[in-house]
């Protein structure tokens, strides 16, 4: 293995396999003076979906592409449907668009809740924290497999998933989302069931996670309000997290480039609920999809000479490549690495609390987790409105036909951030299919200029205590991105 030569006392740590992340992940760390000096992120799983899609009937992308991931399958399904709709020159019906929003939102909210309760918080129930004042409560609520909050979440999540069952037949790997809308109509009685389901989820979260109405969380606007919440409650998992974060200084770790991007989530009459755009150098900006390119320099992929826009992209694995250290390509926007996810969506949308947090301490572990909890509340409130906006007697799905040749892109937001499918067809068959998933952005390797990906940058400076082989700070930082490794390399 080629390790860059290090200073005196530098050592190398390989952290992985990680549990409580979706899929397989390995991180190589160079450690010196009790801190991470450089990090190299390896996505060790490759399947080749882009190659498998080539040569097929375009409609079959609706079945194959979602199977990239059993966790983000609805988002993958929506991205494929949007790309095919672009090819067909159609858009979904009003009902289809709203129902699709409900399906994607259900999956995204479920993912946020799973991340907080089952993946992120159990780290604070580890024996290493036994001396902290909050430990007993953290252990009671979040110890893996036993914590009361974790168990309650599983029940609330199963309830929430009834929305996918009702509107899409099943989850994971739903099939209902089509280019022209959805295959399942909702009748007035279905609307009542959906509202009842959302009501049950709201009640569960307000009782235990937040200890307060969703609206109060959604409207959080200043860091002082968070301070007050930590100091005086209401009691709940959220307050406990605020206490832990303050004690451990989660606001000071895991900062990457503070450069964010979103493809825009949940389209509506007046644009998406969370708009597309960028936020960098503390300024909002427009998203230019033409400026996206993937660099293969440190990916074990051929075509390394220059970065490619996805419409010119390729996925040809090169197992003999010695420079590459991952299967993950390095997507860049205008040549720069960008972070994506709930924090990016909220900051780009101008949510005042998250803007203030990023302004003060940057995109930290703390900010990423708060962003998910705020977004969960905001999205659930929006979902209740969408259910009421469905019109059972209006059309649900517009028919369309694929042209013999053409190309189109489907851009959306999965729970973990920006997801794009770039499709090209020739002779009525798929001739190119390129996918950039959220964690492809976040966990990308270095590019030709040697610039590390967002996680690689976020890990620099993380504390490594004497004797630690899987440093806790590294685990918190990695999990704060809520990586989905099966999407990353597909």
């Amino acid at each position: 293995m080629n390790t860059p030569s290090g200073a005196e006392g530098a050592r190398r740590l390989i952290v992985g396999p990680f549990n409580r992340v979706e899929g397989d992940l390995e991180v190589r760390l160079e450690v010196a003076d009790g801190a991470v000096r450089a990090a190299f992120v390896n996505s060790p799983l490759f399947r080749g979906f882009e190659r498998i899609l080539e040569g097929r009937d375009p409609a079959d992308a609706l079945v194959i592409a979602p199977r990239i991931c059993g966790i983000c399958s609805v988002s993958q399904s929506q991205a494929a449907a949007l790309a095919l709709a672009g090819l067909q020159g159609i858009g979904p019906t009003q009902n289809g668009r709203i129902a699709t929003n409900l399906l994607v939102a259900t999956e995204n909210v479920a993912d946020h809740l799973t991340h907080f309760h089952l993946f992120f918080m159990p780290d604070f129930a580890r024996a290493a924290y036994a001396g902290r004042p909050w430990f007993a409560e953290a252990e009671a609520r979040f110890k893996a497999g036993k914590g009361t909050s974790a168990r309650r979440l599983m029940a609330a999540r199963a309830t929430l998933m009834h929305i996918l069952g009702l509107l899409a037949g099943r989850w994971p790997h739903t099939l209902a989302i089509q280019p022209g809308g959805v295959t399942r109509r909702a009748e007035p009685r279905d609307q009542m069931r959906l509202l009842a389901t959302l009501g049950a989820v709201r009640a569960a979260l307000e009782a235990h996670l937040y200890g307060a109405p969703l609206e109060r969380v959604a409207e959080l606007a200043a860091r002082e309000e968070l301070e007050a919440w930590r100091a005086t409650g209401p009691a709940g998992d959220f307050r406990l997290f605020l206490e832990i974060a303050a004690d451990l200084g989660l606001e000071r770790i895991g900062r990457a480039y503070d450069r964010f991007l979103s493809f825009g989530a949940y389209p509506g009459d007046d644009g998406p609920l969370y708009p597309a755009g960028t936020y960098a150098e503390r300024r909002p900006g427009r998203l230019d999809p033409a400026a996206i390119a993937e660099d293969h320099t440190f990916a074990r992929m051929e075509d390394r000479a220059v970065p490619h826009h996805p419409f010119a992209g390729s996925t040809i694995p090169d197992g003999l490549d010695e420079t590459g250290y991952t299967w993950c390509k390095a997507p860049r926007l205008a040549g720069l690495p960008f972070e994506t996810g709930a924090l990016a969506r909220q900051v780009i949308d101008g949510q005042p609390l998250l803007r203030a947090m990023v302004g003060a301490g940057g995109g930290s572990v703390f900010a990423r987790v708060v962003a998910r909890l705020v977004e969960t509340a905001r999205t659930l409130i929006a979902m209740e409105g969408w259910v009421r906006a469905l019109e059972p007697n209006a059309p649900w799905c517009t028919p369309g036909t694929h042209p013999q040749a053409g190309r189109a892109v489907g851009l959306t937001e999965a729970a973990r951030g920006a997801l794009g499918h770039w499709v090209e067809i020739a002779g009525g068959r798929i001739s190119r299919y390129q996918i950039i998933a959220p964690t492809t952005w976040n966990f990308s390797p270095r590019d030709a200029a040697g610039v590390p990906g967002p996680l690689e940058a976020a890990l620099v400076g993380a504390a490594v205590l004497p004797g630690e082989t899987t440093p806790l700070s590294v685990q918190h930082i990695v999990r704060s991105f809520d990586p989905c490794m099966v999407c990353t390399v597909h």
């Binding site: 409580r20 490759f46 399947r47 194959i64 059993g70 899409a168 099939l175 295959t183 299967w327």
Partner: protein, 360 residues
């Protein structure tokens, strides 16, 4: 120390009450299609049998099987089953991490040699010496062989482990290979589906743990209790098929009336699974109920059989249950309505032509 621990001990330790335990036994009996007279037998087995550990490995996969599994219908069933297996090794859910997790794997393998169940989600890719799926620095196929060596039996979760699934679709870039083509000397129970239904997964694993034996399997190695009938056999839209009433495109008049989805690609007539009886997400629905055809995800090779949105051209010889293929049934029925017949036949010819193209 835990060598003689029974399932019942484990459940009590997890805080499950006696009352809940008995309820669980009834639910299990019902899920397995056993009569109420079996409830005491299940209870007795759980109280006296030492707990069998389950090691759950992930290869090349998308985690959809785990996702399906952890939302089994009844919270109690899920709690109990999770308490039976998650104590051991599952890298998505377990508490420990990294080398600590690997150590647990080794410990269980040694302590329960020849006496643990290996559950596999995903499959090993064999190209490039297995480097497309590296677990803990080694190819997954090595880990699979190592853990399989001393297992009592293997459960192949989902279509990846059972058959290959979409990652093995043409051109199968990584040579993703089902478990039974890598492991030859152990009983393998296939539980196909992409993903399998949660209740089917918990049903199979509960049966094996409770009765300490493998459920009766069909020729392909699937448990008969869940895979002996076609989706079509128990589909609630079946009367519309028999009457020749079809959805022609999504959201048309036929779709609004709940007609048969055969013409928009439904593979229900050739797919063996329990979707139309057990259903999904707590029995709420299943794909056909959501207006989309079955894609046949529990059948071997479903990924390379031509488009999912083109209808089956010939389902004769699949033991259809009626002495004709679907075209003839459709023809006979639609003839009474008139007009639609020519279109129906033309579509069928087109489909056959396409199929030839696909097969090259």
């Amino acid at each position: 120390m835990a060598g003689l621990e029974t399932f019942y001990d484990v459940m009590r330790r997890q805080g499950i009450t006696r009352r809940s335990f008995l309820k669980y036994c009834s639910l299990t009996a019902a899920a397995l299609g056993l009569g109420p007279e079996m409830v005491p037998e299940i209870a007795h087995a759980m109280e006296t049998k030492p707990r069998l550990p389950v090691l759950w490995l992930h290869g090349l996969e998308c985690t959809c099987c785990s996702e399906s599994f952890i939302r089994s219908a009844h919270p109690l069933v899920k709690d109990v089953v999770l308490s039976m297996i998650s104590l051991d090794y599952d890298d998505t859910l377990m508490a420990s991490a990294g080398h600590q997790a690997e150590a647990i794997l080794d410990e269980v393998m040694t302590k329960y040699k020849g006496n643990y169940i290996l559950a596999v989600e995903g499959n090993p890719p064999l190209n490039e010496d297995g480097m497309y799926c590296i677990i803990g620095g080694k190819p997954f196929v090595d880990q699979l062989k190592k853990v399989a060596k001393d297992a009592k039996a293997i459960i192949s979760w989902g279509s990846c482990a059972s058959y290959g699934c979409v990652q093995a679709a043409r051109p199968n870039p990584t040579r993703a290979t089902p478990v039974h083509e890598v492991i030859f000397d152990k009983p393998i129970i296939k539980v196909p589906g992409c993903p399998p239904i949660a209740e089917v997964m918990t049903g199979v694993i509960t049966y094996m743990l409770t009765f300490d034996r493998i459920p009766e399997l069909d020729r392909q190695g699937r448990p008969k209790m869940f895979y002996s009938q076609r989706i079509h056999d128990k589909c609630y839209r079946r009367p519309h098929f028999d009457a020749g009433q079809y959805v022609e495109k999504f959201d048309d008049e036929g779709a609004r009336k709940g007609y048969c989805l055969y013409k928009v690609g439904c593979k229900g007539p050739t797919t063996y699974n329990a979707c139309s009886t057990v259903r999904w997400n707590d029995g709420v629905s299943f794909p056909i109920q959501a207006g989309h055809g079955c894609i046949g995800c529990s059948e071997d090779g479903f990924w390379d059989k031509g488009s999912w949105y083109a209808r089956l051209s010939d389902i004769k010889g699949q033991g259809f249950g009626i002495e004709a293929n679907a075209d003839q049934i459709g023809l006979a029925a639609t003839a009474a309505v008139g007009g639609a017949v020519a279109v129906h036949a033309a579509v069928s010819a087109l489909k056959r032509a396409q199929h030839k193209g696909d097969a090259q």
